[in-house]
Amino acid sequence: MSRVQKSFAWMRQHWVILIGIILAIGVMTFPIPQITDPQTRTITLDARQFEFAPHRIHINKGDRVIIQFTASDVVHGFYLDGYGIQERVEPGITKQIEFVAEHTGKFRYRCSVSCGSLHPFMIGELVVGPNEPFWRAIAFVIVSVITLIAYQFFSKGTSYEHATLGTSPA
């Protein structure tokens, strides 16, 4: 058998794996169109010892975010991971933070001005959805599992048994 014939034979035997790999590459690279129109979201974020209110913000990718940042007791700060935005706020003086949510995922915002004993735990979350990497990973796992199960089903009695019994297929 020539080399080409050999690979055709392999493909005929293992076509499930091939489809699985193509699907897996597909779910990881398929460009997802922007589902929601970008909006301007005005969020009132209040900082107090030792919490943010709200402590979780959900927005969509591409949204213009305007945070009206206030403090209720002492001077607090705002540092947004992944975006590198830093601001400080005094009680009574509202600070406005503006940015466009370009990166999807879950980012933490934390107090960046030492405000007391529990200051290190003053953390909130900004969720920029849809969380693409997360859902792609889920889809990848599902495709892989289905591929493996299908492979076992279609090639029953061949590779599986040889593998478990440790005998050579020849």
Partner: protein, 337 residues
């Protein structure tokens, strides 16, 4: 025997060398040419002691360096009156320094100008500047002509309104159903008959806008009431130049906004902690019955039982008047509604 001598020698060297070394180090790091004093003041919330030390004595003409540190939360450091020193925030773990030469004897106050705790307004300390020629001189009694005038007139500075004074025209509440417009008042003012006393800055200082409105109404019976209110709003806000307003806005935001609110709505984050609800300067019905000199006195002297601190030891009379000017801005400036 030789080793024993060597050991004794080392011990003696340490005993003598260490103090000498420390002494030389100190001499080198404190420049003897400038007899400058460094005073470290540790800031903490007033519940935990406030400024320590909270009273400093210096001699007039002497240069001192004040170094502020913080041990708990962020504090703001300013020194007044009349020095114009605002060091900004001092975060825990950071320091802020200022070198000062006090030329005149007197008492100055350093204070926290960033809301830091429910007792923030107690957070003050004093610098007593002593006249080297007369170190035991007692501070001269404080005279404030505007407040003395008010006392003479029999105005109750603690009262919430000055409208209950005898001969004061009573306002028709329905007249004040919409915000005034300073710009429109400015345009209109040129075409109105302005009574001479109303045109006088001193008169406006000691009278309420309602009194001014009554005068204006008598002289211009054909003009609508809302237009007259606009003119009054313009006149009461025209006395303070823009750069003074800018200074006052910054001062207001740092020192007043925590209770009275940034826009003067009386709804700052600390508004629910005070003995009496903070006054809303944005409520121009309230401001129409208020006098500049009474506002001045309230700021300088503080409010009895209201938790309004006194600013008389922090501000010069001129600075206080600028602040009053900003309060009129808060009352009358056009707001999107």
């Amino acid at each position: 025997m030789k080793r024993e001598l060597l050991a004794i020698g080392i011990v003696i060297l340490i005993l003598i060398g260490l103090p000498v070394g420390v002494f030389i180090y100190n001499r080198q790091h404190t420049n003897p040419d400038s007899p400058e004093r460094l005073i470290t003041i540790q800031a903490a919330v007033p519940e935990a002691g406030g400024f320590q030390p909270s009273a400093i004595k210096v001699t007039a003409g002497e240069t001192v360096t004040l170094r502020f540190t913080s041990v708990d939360v962020t504090h703001g450091i300013a020194i007044g009156p009349g020095l114009g020193i605002d060091l900004g925030h001092v975060d825990p773990g950071h320091v802020q320094e200022v070198s000062l030469t006090f030329e005149k004897a007197g008492t100055y106050t350093f204070y926290c100008n960033t809301w830091c705790s429910p007792d923030h307004w107690r957070m003050r300390g004093t610098v007593d500047v002593i006249d080297p020629a007369n170190p035991d001189a007692a501070p001269s009694p404080y005279h404030d002509p505007i407040i003395e005038q008010l006392v003479e007139e029999g105005v109750n500075i603690d009262a919430n309104t000055t409208m209950d004074m005898p001969d004061h025209p009573q306002p028709d509440v329905l007249r004040f159903d919409q915000p005034a417009s300073i710009e429109q008042g400015h345009i209109l003012a040129a075409s109105l008959v302005i009574p001479t006393e109303l045109a006088d800055t001193e008169w406006r200082l000691t009278h309420t806008p309602i009194e001014g409105l009554a005068l204006l109404e008598n002289n211009n019976p054909s003009i609508s009431m809302s237009d007259l209110i606009n003119v009054i709003a313009y006149m009461w806000t025209s006395d303070t130049p823009p750069e003074d307003i800018q200074w006052a806005e910054e001062y207001y935001n740092k020192n007043c906004a925590a209770c009275h609110g940034q826009t003067g709505e009386g709804n700052g984050p600390a508004a629910d902690q005070t003995a009496q609800s903070p006054v809303a300067f944005a409520d121009f019905t309230y401001m129409f019955g208020m006098r500049s000199d009474v506002l001045y006195a309230k700021i300088r002297r503080g409010g009895m039982g209201t938790d309004m601190p006194n600013f008389g030891t922090l501000l010069t009379p001129e600075e206080t008047l600028r602040l009053v000017g900003y309060l009129w801005q808060l009352a009358f400036k056009d707001r999107p509604n």
